[in-house]
């Protein structure tokens, strides 16, 4: 496909789309699928066929529209009207009313803050296109950034643009993406690799999943641009086996991309070759750590190793390897398309652009949101999220999953950026955001995350393998009202030990949920220990038996 053919494909697809009077989009991403959106899609299809409207009404499955709690979601005519919690039986009414007023009882207000307070970059196509059709991705500007890079930019210029955009890694640590790319460029060796880390494992997080399921071509384009920039001809997507739908759509996307000549050899008539293969994770959380991920791709046990040397220098098969997260790659095409200054104009001083969060827990609007960096936690939880349901009191928001921490109400007006969240004792993380109300016990929360770390520890180093078990035992003891202040001291001592002596990020950050809850909710720990009661009423503390 040449650039002219690409432009022609855009026109063809737009004409095809405009030939329909109505568009009915049904979300077929994981959230809505789990509430039977596929059945809804089928009943709408039957309805359209029975009324003979196939030529007038385009029905398609699209990616995630974000408001997962209200699924299955159906959008009409480019989200002019949205319907929520649609049942298969609603199909006749929906089709019937296409030319008249919308079905009142199903309407989901599209002007609510949940939708209009977001800035969608990584998710710009999510919910707007059929993830299984490359034509729709192309029609929305897809692969034009790759075409431009191949035709007009040198690899060094691509790296410059990414650097100038201020993009930082969206996997959690926020390492400057441009710097990482230029390191791989400079690393000696002719054989280099690009890896996409799609081993999203934080409890409650589904940002990457949504990009993979809703807009897989975006990732492929970002990886191909990265491959061109760093001089790699082979890319791997390491995706967890727990995402079968993402795997299926990625496979479809790769096949389509190769056929459209945007992946493979001599891409778009250039001299650039780039191939992408999938590698499926087997369920270990630690394989999200880059060195463990590389070991897993190589066929070994998923064990991390010491860095340096970093993968940029010594990665897959010992070759220089660029490894970025899904959301990072997904931001790349749009940066080239709209310009580095545009991207750098969004966000705060050191944190540019947007971040996707999976909003979960005790909040009205659970789902997927993309917000500009620098937005406050309060805006996310109360404006976009719609606040706490059931008139309950807000208690804390947990970011960063098992490596993150809990942030209390006092800091809700702090801006969401890498530095601020770290100062608050949490981390940006990959984007999990769990809101907790007064019915959550912070000791129990810490215990839950420590149970996760204990189970997911690979066992390679002593502090993480044994330390997390002791910490979990101590937290259990506290939650059961059996602990003493000495146990609390031992817990804090272990936090310090495991944090400073573990081999990889999993162990080093495993104490974070404990340390942050101890920092802000120490009184809850003390209530369990000294008063033998759980203030939130979560933990079962057996009454003391007196003789």
């Amino acid at each position: 496909m040449t650039r002219e053919e690409l432009d022609a494909a855009v026109v063809t697809e737009q004409e095809r789309s405009q030939s329909f009077r109505h568009h009915v989009d049904v979300c077929i991403a994981a959230g809505c699928l789990s509430s039977q959106s596929e059945v809804v899609l089928n009943s709408l299809r039957t309805e359209i066929r029975e009324r003979g409207l196939e030529k007038e009404c385009a029905l398609r499955g699209v990616g995630c529209m974000g408001l997962c709690k209200a699924g299955p979601l159906v959008a009409l005519d480019g989200q002019a009207v949205m319907y929520q919690t649609v049942a298969p039986a609603d199909a006749p009414e929906i089709i019937e009313s296409l030319d008249t007023a919308p079905v009142e009882r199903l309407v989901c207000p599209v002007n609510m803050p949940f939708f209009n307070r977001q800035t969608r970059i990584a998710l710009e196509n999510s919910g707007q296109i059929d993830p299984e059709r490359i034509e729709e991705y192309i029609a929305r500007g897809g692969y034009s950034a790759l075409a431009e890079a191949l035709a007009e930019l040198t690899p060094a210029q691509v790296v410059e643009r990414i650097t100038a955009s201020g993009l930082r890694g969206r996997g959690g640590a926020g390492y400057p993406t441009g710097l990482k790319w230029s390191t791989v460029v400079k690393a000696p060796g002719s054989q280099k690799y690009v890896i996409c880390n799609a081993d999203e494992g934080d409890p409650g997080a589904f940002m990457d999943r949504s990009v993979l399921e809703s807009d897989p071509h975006r990732l492929l384009e970002g990886m191909a641009i990265a491959g061109y920039a760093v001089g790699a001809e082979q890319g791997y997507i390491y995706v967890r086996a727990e995402y079968p739908l993402a795997i299926k759509r990625l496979k479809t996307a790769i096949r389509q991309a190769v056929r459209a000549d945007v992946l493979g050899t001599t891409i778009m008539g250039s001299r650039f070759n780039f191939q992408v293969d999938l590698r499926i994770g087997a369920g270990a959380f630690v394989c999200g750590e880059e060195t463990a991920l590389i070991a897993s791709i190589e066929g070994g046990r998923g064990l991390p190793r010491l860095r340096p040397p970093y993968p940029a220098e010594y990665g897959l098969w010992g070759k220089p390897t660029l490894i970025n997260n899904v959301e990072t790659f997904a931001s790349v095409p749009v940066i080239l398309r709209k310009g580095s200054e545009w991207f750098a104009g969004i966000g705060t001083g050191k944190s540019k652009g947007t971040k996707v969060f999976a909003l979960a827990g005790a909040v009205q609007n659970t789902g997927l949101v993309e917000v500009p960096m620098g937005i406050t936690l309060r805006e996310i939880v109360f404006d976009i999220g719609g606040g706490i349901p059931g008139g309950k009191r807000f208690k804390a928001v947990q970011t960063g999953g098992p490596s993150g921490g809990c942030i209390p109400e006092a800091y809700l007006d702090q801006p969401v950026d890498f530095e601020t969240l770290a100062q608050l004792g949490s981390i940006m993380g990959s984007g999990g955001m769990i809101v907790m109300d007064e019915t959550s016990c912070m000791v129990d929360v810490a215990r839950y995350f420590m149970d996760f770390c204990r189970t997911e520890s690979c066992g390679k180093c002593v502090p993480c393998r044994v330390g997390t078990v002791h910490m979990h035992n101590l937290l259990t003891k506290i939650s059961e009202g059996q602990a003493t202040l000495d146990d609390l001291a031992m817990l804090e001592e272990l936090c310090d030990l495991v944090r400073h002596t573990s081999l990889c990020g999993l162990g080093q950050s495993a104490p974070n949920p404990v340390m942050s809850t101890l920092r802000y909710f120490r009184d809850e720990y003390l209530a369990h220990i000294q008063d033998k009661r759980c203030p939130a009423g979560v933990c079962h503390i057996a009454p003391e038996v007196t003789a």
Binding site: S457, G459, R465, V466, M490, S502
Partner: protein, 239 residues
Amino acid sequence: MKPAEQVTVLKINGDEVSAHADQTILDVARENGIEIPTLCYLENLTEVGGCRLCLVEIKGAAKLQPACVTRVREGMEVATHSSRLDTYRRKILELIFTERNHICSVCVANGNCDLQDMAAALGMDHVTYPYLNPSVPVDLSHELFGIDQNRCILCTRCVRVCAEIEGAHTWDVRNSGINSRVFTDFNEPWGESQTCTNCGKCVNVCPTGALFKKGKAVGERTRQIDFLPYLKTMREELK
């Protein structure tokens, strides 16, 4: 002009020492008579960096680094001992003692055990953390040797010596986290292993009494690891 082999100068505990650029901090320290405690490390086997006893402080580095895998750099300033490091090492050792069931008085390795020696060297005279008391198996199916998982510290020396020196790769580690276990072949009993050559190298490199020669009573275990330097030569010839 670029010198063929880079030589660097670094400071260990304030003293300047010279080193080849590809040496590890541990190599250089030991060359200069500075002892850094190690358990999983064994000269001539691939380094793992798993026991974390050899962690050292490097000026300017935010994190502690394991001396056994960290390469030297020009101008590096390393501290191998400090009260912080000593405390961490002692606590890590305590964690190892709580993980399985280490009872010296009934162990073949009593008096000839790296773990026991390390406890003495680091002044670890008691264990503050609660013992985990796991129920782990003993495999005596091999005609010459036995493995008592109660004494295993997962240093993986046996795995490495078997794979890297003997070339059999009978041993490996299965499961993860606290449930990690060394095992033979596809988890058949050791005695039924198709790959084990009965060479006994694993038994000789085991730091504790986890792997032992049958027929030895308490404290009777002896080890011959004098074969390792020869094997290093052999390995280098193979390169």
